[in-house]
């Protein structure tokens, strides 16, 4: 039963992702992306990662995509206007970079670099303690340094965006 659910949700995810790429209208593209995000959240739930699923919906589907739509609506008000190809030399480099990225992702997945915690963290143990609590504990003890570095990185990006957008403060 769960396997069938996985195939259905996976099919929806991939289909909407493909539609996102081939959709001409940016607003519909953004909506397809939202559906992709939501189906990814369902996949996380199937993997017993409820916390990640909830955060996926709150952060990506609920906040970031709203801002995307916001910007698209402010900039592109005409429905069905053919968008000109603004970057004609982009195609070949884009294909090459895409292949390179795909290869890197395949290598990383195969290399067992991203295996995460295993031995004592069995499914039963995770369910007993609770997903959220376990992630919180690990994030603020073992992975404190990477966590803080990431937050500083995001902070710098936010300040950078404000500095670029608003010269006079």
């Amino acid at each position: 039963m769960l396997a069938y659910l996985f195939y259905i949700v996976a099919a929806i995810t991939v289909t909407t992702a493909v539609y996102l790429i081939f959709e001409k209208n940016p607003v519909f593209g953004a909506l397809y992306l939202i559906q992709t995000m939501v189906s990814l959240a369902v996949l996380y739930i199937l993997l017993e990662a409820q916390f990640v699923a909830a955060v996926q919906i709150i952060v990506y589907a609920g906040a970031i995509m709203v801002l995307f739509l916001f910007v698209i609506m402010l900039l592109n008000l005409d429905i069905g206007e053919e968008t000109k190809n603004a970057l004609p030399y982009q195609r070949i480099p884009a294909i090459l970079m895409g292949i390179a990225l795909f290869t890197i992702i395949c290598i990383v997945i195969r290399s067992k670099l991203l295996q995460g915690k295993q031995d004592q963290y069995t499914t039963a143990f995770v369910q007993g303690v609770g997903n959220t609590k376990l992630i919180g504990n690990l994030l603020f003890t073992e992975y404190l340094l990477p966590f803080e570095i990431t937050s500083i990185l995001l902070f710098v990006a936010a300040i950078g965006a404000i500095m670029l957008a608003k010269r006079k403060l």
Binding site: V27, Q50, I57, I58, V66, L69, F70, N131, T132
Partner: protein
Amino acid sequence: MLRSKNAADWGNVSEMNKEFLVYLVIVCVKILLVFGVVQLMVISMIWLERKIMAHMQVRLGPMRVGPHGLLQPIADGIKLLFKEDIIPEKASKLLFVLAPAMAMVPAMLTFAVIPFGDAVKILGYKVDLVITDVNIGFLYIFGVSSLGIYGIVMAGWASNNKYSLLGGIRSSAQMISYELTLGLSLIGVVMMTESLSLVDVVNAQAKLWNIILQPIGFFIYFTSAIAEVNRCPFDLPEAESELVAGYHTEYSSMKFAMFFMAEYANMITVSAIAVTFFLGGWQGPFLPPVVWFLLKLSGCLFFFIWIRSTFPRLRYDQLMHFGWKFLLPLSLFNILITGLVIVIKG
């Protein structure tokens, strides 16, 4: 031999099936019941709002249909059903039709995790008076409610009308700003309860309501909640003096009614969350838990109407400044204080 074993197996299976069937029936009944009650509350809210506002402004309000205009919502509903359903020529048809549903569904979904009573025994089966008690209930609420923006934004964009679009853009900016403080205001309660499950939050308030321990949190929550559901004095997305009717300018007939119902359903949802997190949920002496829950809910809803008929509308920049420069620092301060107290108390 083989046959008897099979029979035993069948016995087990039917036993299991029976349990599963009972569970299924209970869940379905609960969903239908909650759905029905919320819809009923939406309808009665529309009447109550008109009546209470009228009396606050020394008017009578609806009086003609039924005693004291009690049947007015039904008359309104019939009128809306029979009105012509207009879809603008240049609208994006699919999204235009889809938007009211997208506004309505998240408002109803949130009720899945809100406990409205203690566990009761019906025909020997223990029934929890909550549709489902998930251990990420708190996150679930914010996940679902953050999707509620899309209905309004899509309506604004799909109408292909500048007033609708302005309303939609205003509402998305407003909801993103206030969702932040809405979430942060409840963090204090979660820190004290040490659980994200709403059932645990209610159980922890058996002796003392959280509103006494978290007064700042309650204030921030209620203010942001009013902004989140686009109610006066934060109803900028539908400010009639500037934007005709905002995002639902082009809507008519039942689609308009669905936006209207979504707004009221949202109001009931945020009130139910306020009751669960700050006012002790279904806890209370003498009366049955469900009655207590409904009483507190009605109190919150009355407060919404009271505020609407008392305060004038804010200007848009005032709204943004209030959210980012006052409520956000205040909610962070509240979390800091809560954390300090928890650490000091050990």
